[in-house]
Amino acid sequence: MSYFDNLILGLQTALSWYNLLWCFVGVFLGTLLGVIPGIGVVAAISMLFPLTFQLEPTAALIMLAGIWYGTSYGGSTASILLNVPGSATNAVTCLDGYPMTQQGRGGIALLMTTVASFFGGSFGIILLMGFAGTISAYALSFSSAEYFSLMLLGLIAACNVSSGSILKGLIMVALGILFGLVGSDIYTGTRRFDFGILDLADGINLVALAMGLFGVSEVIASVGKVDGKKVDPNSVKLSAMKPTRDDVRRSWLPMIRGSSIGAFFGTLPGTGSSIAAFMAYAVEKRVSRAPEKFGSGQIEGIMAPEAANNAADQTSFIPTLALGIPGSATMALMLGALMIHGIAPGPQLMTEQPSLFWGLVMSFWIGNVLLVILNVPLVGVWVRLLMVPYNWLFPAVLMFICIGTYSVSNSAFDVMLVVLFGALGYALRVGGYPAAPMLLGFVLGPMMEEHFRRAMLLSRGDFGTFLSRPISATVLAIALLVLLWGLKPLIFNRKPA
C-alpha cells in the first residue's frame, strides 16, 4: 500500500463515528484532568485503563492518547491562571504564564498557549507521519552510553532553567537524585535507603513526589494569603484574548524552536514532554536579549514550552509505535492496552495493523482540532472550575491529589508521602529553591545510574566508552557547553559585592 492509501485508510478509521466519539471522550477528559491541578496524566490513564478492555483496540488507543495530549492543552490553563501546574508538563508554563495573569494578560496567554500547543502538536504529528517508518535504524544506534550522556545534558539544562541561581538548581538536582536512589538497585536487587519499609522497595512514587511538591505545597502557600488568587472572568472572554501585534511577532520563533526541541525529546525514551518543556524554556531564556525579564510574564516563556510539550507528546509515539519501546509510564500503559487486545507492539505493528496505526495517527489531527475548540471558545467552562471559591477548591484539590496518588498503586503509604513532600515543597518555596530541577533529578537520576552502570558493564569498565562513541561524545560536548554557558554569569559578570 502506498503512503497515501495509508493516510486515507487512517482518515477513514479515525472518522468512523465510534472512533470519533472516543477521541472526543479522550480529549475532553484530558482537558478536564489537565485543568484540575493534582491529577496527572499517568494517574488519569491508570484509572481509565480498565475501561479500555471493553473498547475496540483502535478506539481504546485513540481515547488514551487523547487523554495524554489533552492534558498538555488543559494543563496550561491552571498554570497560567492559578500558578498551579495542571500536570508536570505544564510546570514551566507557570513561570511566565502566571505573571501575565497578574498583569491582566491571562486571556492572551490562554489563547496563545493554545496556538502554541496546536502548532507544536501539528509539528509532532507531521514528524510522526514522516519518520515512524524509518526510525528503527536511528534508535538502534542508541545504547546506554548515549542515554547516559543525553540525560546528563538534560540535567545540566534543567539547572539552567531554575529561576534562581544555577547553584540552587544544582543543589535541587542533587537532592532529586538522592530521592531517586531510594529503592531496589536493579543490578543486585539490594534495597537501598528504604529504612526497611517495604513500600519503598520500588522507590518513591513519582506521582506522590510530584503531587506533594507541586500540588500540596501550592495549596499550603495559597491558604496563608488572605485574598487568595482570583480568576478574573473578564480575562477569559474572547475579547480579552486578542494578542497585540508585538505578542504575535515575538511568538513565532519560540514556537518553532520549542516544537523542534519538543519533537526531539519526545522521540527519546526516558525523556519526554516535561523535559522538553524545561529545555525549551532554558533555550528561550538563553537566546533572549533580556534573560533577566523571564519570570515576569514574557510571552516567549510560555510559547516555547507549550509548543515543546505538545510536540513531544506526539513524537513520543514514534518509538512507542515504530519499535514498541515505551518512553514513559504512560506509553507503557498504552502498549499494555494493545497487548490486552492481543496486538503485539513492535516494528511489525505498522505493517500488520495499518488501520490501527494510521487511524491513531490521523485521530491526532482530529483530537488537536477538538482541543482548540475546547480550549478557546469553551475556556470559560473550564475556568468556572477554577472559579470555585478557594475554601471549596482547596479541599477538593487535596482530595483529588489523594485519590489520584492512591489510585496509582492502591497504596495509602503513597498518600502519606504526598503530605511529606507537600511540607518539603513548601519549605523549599519559602527558601527560594526551585522544585522543578528536583523533580527532574528524581526522574533522571536513577535512569542515569542504570545507564551509566550498564555502559560500564558493557565496556567492561572502560570510561572511554562515553567518548569513543560518537553520538555520546557529541552530546557530552554539548552538555559541557551548556554548563559553561550557565556558569558564565557567575564567572565573568560577577558584580562587586
Binding site: S46, M47, L48, F49, P50, L51, F53, Q54, A139, L140, S141, F142, S143, S144, S184, D185, I186, Y187, T188, G189, T190, R191, G196, I197, L198, D199, A201, D202, P269, L323, G324, I325, P326, A332, L333, L335, G336, A337, M339, I340, G342, A344, P345, G346, P347, Q348, I403, Y406, S407, S409, N410, S411, A412, F413, E450, R454, L457, L458
Partner: protein
C-alpha cells in the same frame, strides 16, 4: 503500624466492575463480593491472566469478583496484604514463582511465609522463558553460545528483565549446570532491553515467551532455546535447553491462586473446582496457549506439594549462583 489499606474507593470498584461485564448476582457461594488481588499493575502478564480466568469463573458461577491491583516490591506488597486478610473466602489472589518460590530465598526479610501463610487453591498456568539472540548473531544455536562461553569465560553478555527474576535465575541455573561463566546485564524489562538485544550490544537475552514472541515474529530477534522440558507450541521449532545436554533442566514461571492461610476446606474446594472448570474452557485455553502458557489446574494439594518442591529448587539455584541480595 499497618501501612496497607483496604480498598474502599468507588473509582477502583467502578474500574473493576467495568472490566468485568455481566457480573451476575452471587447465588450459591456467597452474597458478598470477593476481592481478587493481583500483586502487579494493570496490563501486565499476571493481571491479564487473572482477569481472563476471573472472567470465566464469574460467568460460570455467578459469583461477584473484583480484580484489585496491589502492585509494589515485585509483588511482595500485594502478597503480604493478601496473607493478612481474614480467611473467609472473600480474599484470594494470584501468586507466582517469584513471590511464592524465589523471593523467600532471595530476600531475608519478606513479610510473609510463602508456604505457611497461604491456603493453596490451585495452579493456573506455567510458562517457559525463551533465550534469544540478534538476527545476525554468529551463534546459530545454544551449543555455540555455550562453546564460546567455555572458551572465553565471562565474555558472553546476557540480558535479563532484572536481577533476581525467574528469567535471571533460570540462566544462572543453566550456568551452574554447565559450569559456565557468563556476564549478567540486567534491564528493567524487555522494552528497555530490546534495542540492545537487536543491535547485538548483549549476546543473548532471556525473557518470558510472550515478552519476546512479538520480536521473534517480527524477525528482530532469533530464538535459541526455551527453558521448559518440552518445546512450546508457539515456538515449535525452538529446541529446549535440556536438549543441549542439560539433562533434567526445566525452569518455568507458574501462576497459581492462593488465599490467606486457614481458609475452610469447602471454600478451597469450591474455588479449586471453579478454577478447574474455567481452565476447561476452549476459548480460554486457546488464549493461554497463544501466549506461550500451558493451562495446569489440578487438585489443591498437588499445588501445595509442587510449591514445596519449587521452594527447594529455587533455593538451591540461588545458593549455587550466590545470587542472594541481602
Amino acid at each position: 503500624m499497618n501501612l496497607f489499606s483496604k480498598p474502599t474507593l468507588a473509582c477502583i470498584a467502578l474500574a473493576g466492575a467495568l472490566a468485568l461485564p455481566g457480573i451476575a448476582l452471587a447465588q450459591d457461594y456467597t452474597k458478598d463480593t470477593i476481592t481478587f488481588t493481583v500483586p502487579f499493575p494493570p496490563g501486565g502478564g499476571t493481571d491479564i491472566l487473572a482477569r481472563q480466568v476471573v472472567d470465566k469463573i464469574v460467568s460460570a458461577t455467578g459469583w461477584s469478583i473484583i480484580v484489585q491491583n496491589q502492585p509494589g516490591a515485585g509483588g511482595n506488597i500485594g502478597m503480604a496484604q493478601l496473607a493478612r486478610t481474614a480467611p473467609d473466602g472473600l480474599n484470594i489472589g494470584m501468586g507466582q514463582t517469584s513471590n511464592l518460590a524465589v523471593n523467600p530465598s532471595l530476600y531475608s526479610d519478606i513479610p510473609y511465609d510463602a508456604l505457611n501463610d497461604f491456603s493453596h487453591i490451585g495452579l493456573v498456568t506455567t510458562q517457559p522463558m525463551a533465550i534469544v539472540t540478534f538476527p545476525d548473531s554468529l551463534y546459530q544455536d545454544l551449543a555455540e553460545v555455550i562453546a564460546a562461553a567455555k572458551e572465553n569465560p565471562g565474555a558472553i553478555l546476557y540480558g535479563t528483565p532484572g536481577s533476581g527474576t525467574v528469567a535471571h535465575l533460570s540462566l544462572e541455573l543453566l550456568a551452574t549446570q554447565g559450569e559456565l561463566e557468563l556476564t549478567h546485564v540486567p534491564y528493567p524489562g524487555i522494552a528497555q532491553a530490546i534495542s540492545d538485544v537487536m543491535s547485538g550490544v548483549v549476546d543473548i537475552y532471556i525473557g518470558s515467551v510472550p515478552s519476546v514472541l512479538p520480536h521473534v515474529r517480527a524477525g528482530s530477534v532469533r530464538p535459541l532455546a526455551v527453558t521448559s522440558a518440552e518445546p512450546n507450541p508457539v515456538l515449535p521449532d525452538t529446541p529446549t535447553v535440556a536438549s543441549f545436554g542439560f539433562d533434567g533442566y526445566n525452569a518455568a514461571d507458574w501462576k497459581a491462586i492462593v488465599g490467606p492461610a486457614g481458609m475452610p476446606e469447602d471454600m478451597v474446594a469450591a474455588f479449586n473446582a471453579a478454577l478447574n472448570e474455567a481452565l476447561q474452557d476452549e476459548a480460554l485455553r486457546a488464549l493461554l496457549i497463544a501466549d506461550g502458557s500451558t493451562p495446569l489446574g489440578g487438585a489443591s494439594d498437588e499445588f501445595a506439594q509442587y510449591h514445596a518442591t519449587e521452594l527447594d529448587t529455587w533455593a538451591a539455584v540461588i545458593e549455587a549462583s550466590g545470587a542472594t541480595v541481602d
